[in-house]
Symmetry: C2
């Protein structure tokens, strides 16, 4: 699936400028399973404009530069439906973090501890982001809330695994802090971390 289809899909939810599409891909529910940069979004929009898949309207904004608001046309919807009909490519999950963990013996202990903590915080942030979407934003769309639920479930399980199995990688030198709660069932090392430097930008 290409940026074209991606933009077309987003535009079915609401009209948006290239800038706004990029923001959605970064922050909204979309962000968990798609990706795109300005360098691909703007040219795609321009080209689709020429092909009649979208139309533009210049919008003046008080206190902000003008923006070009794109909307999908009936022809665009047709194209989208066709593009959507091909069987989806299988999921692709890339994790440099996991690669580093796999090769942790080549890394200084402190580095491993640091990326481990960063990963936990990153996952917490992502989950929080999804919850925000479901809360304040309009994820009224049933499909949207389904997708959000899926993301929360997957990321949540991953996070829990990292929290529970910390000792497996980091040894028992867990930061001496308070336990999350009293309901420990088996071999838990649940520790609430405190650092705040999120290095993976």
């Amino acid at each position: 699936m290409n940026v074209r289809t991606l933009c077309l899909g987003i535009l079915t939810f609401k009209e948006a400028s290239g800038y706004e599409i990029k923001k959605m891909v970064e922050e909204d529910v979309f962000g968990h399973f798609i990706d795109a940069s300005y360098g691909s979004i703007y040219p795609a929009l321009t080209k689709m404009m020429a092909e009649g898949l979208v139309n533009v309207r210049a919008e003046e904004q008080a206190g902000k530069p003008d923006k070009k608001v794109y909307a999908i046309t009936p022809f665009g919807r047709q194209e989208l439906a066709a593009a959507l009909l091909v069987d989806p490519a299988k999921d692709k999950f890339k994790s440099e973090f996991m690669f580093q963990i796999m090769l942790q013996e080549f890394l200084p202990k402190e580095h491993v501890a640091q990326i481990y903590q960063s990963q936990i915080e990153y996952l917490r942030d992502e989950i929080e982001k999804i919850r925000c979407c479901v809360g304040d934003h309009q994820v009224n769309h049933p499909s949207m809330s389904f997708v959000a639920g899926f993301g929360e479930a997957s990321l949540g399980a991953g996070l829990k695994f990292l929290e529970d199995n910390r000792a497996q990688i980091l040894g028992d030198e867990t930061p001496s802090l308070t336990l999350v709660d009293g309901t420990l069932d088996h071999n838990k090392d649940q520790i609430e971390g405190q650092s705040k430097d999120q290095k993976n930008a």
Copy 2:
């Protein structure tokens, strides 16, 4: 992270040919968080050979064509350690399936039902693959089993979500088949699918 580092990392576990590296990336625990094709592996290996990061040994095989077995050199390990020291890029999860679900209203019901079932089967296969790795293969490496555990946890949660929330997307017209087991706790629609056509190659 590039294919170079990927190959170097894999070669720390065992010597391998380009063909074997590709197979590992497809089938082993690696497969869940990295990706590479022949077209990138072979050139990377050749280049690293010239740079002294790996060395080769031609191995004759009974009943099979000869293969070029690559091994990492001390210099290669040095390079790997350096490459590993940079903070990992954040995880990237791409799912065309989720994109299609989000836009399901543009798709025929049957298509949605079909990709939904395919996705469930795909996830089951992936989890099974991980379990096989842990079982027969040597995932003796503690880091390996950790990574496998993480994959199993994440994928398992995603699969469970799909199984439990089928009705949200597909409605209640679940195929009339036998329930998986009797231990239903809350709102489960766990159905054992029977189709076998896995379309996402």
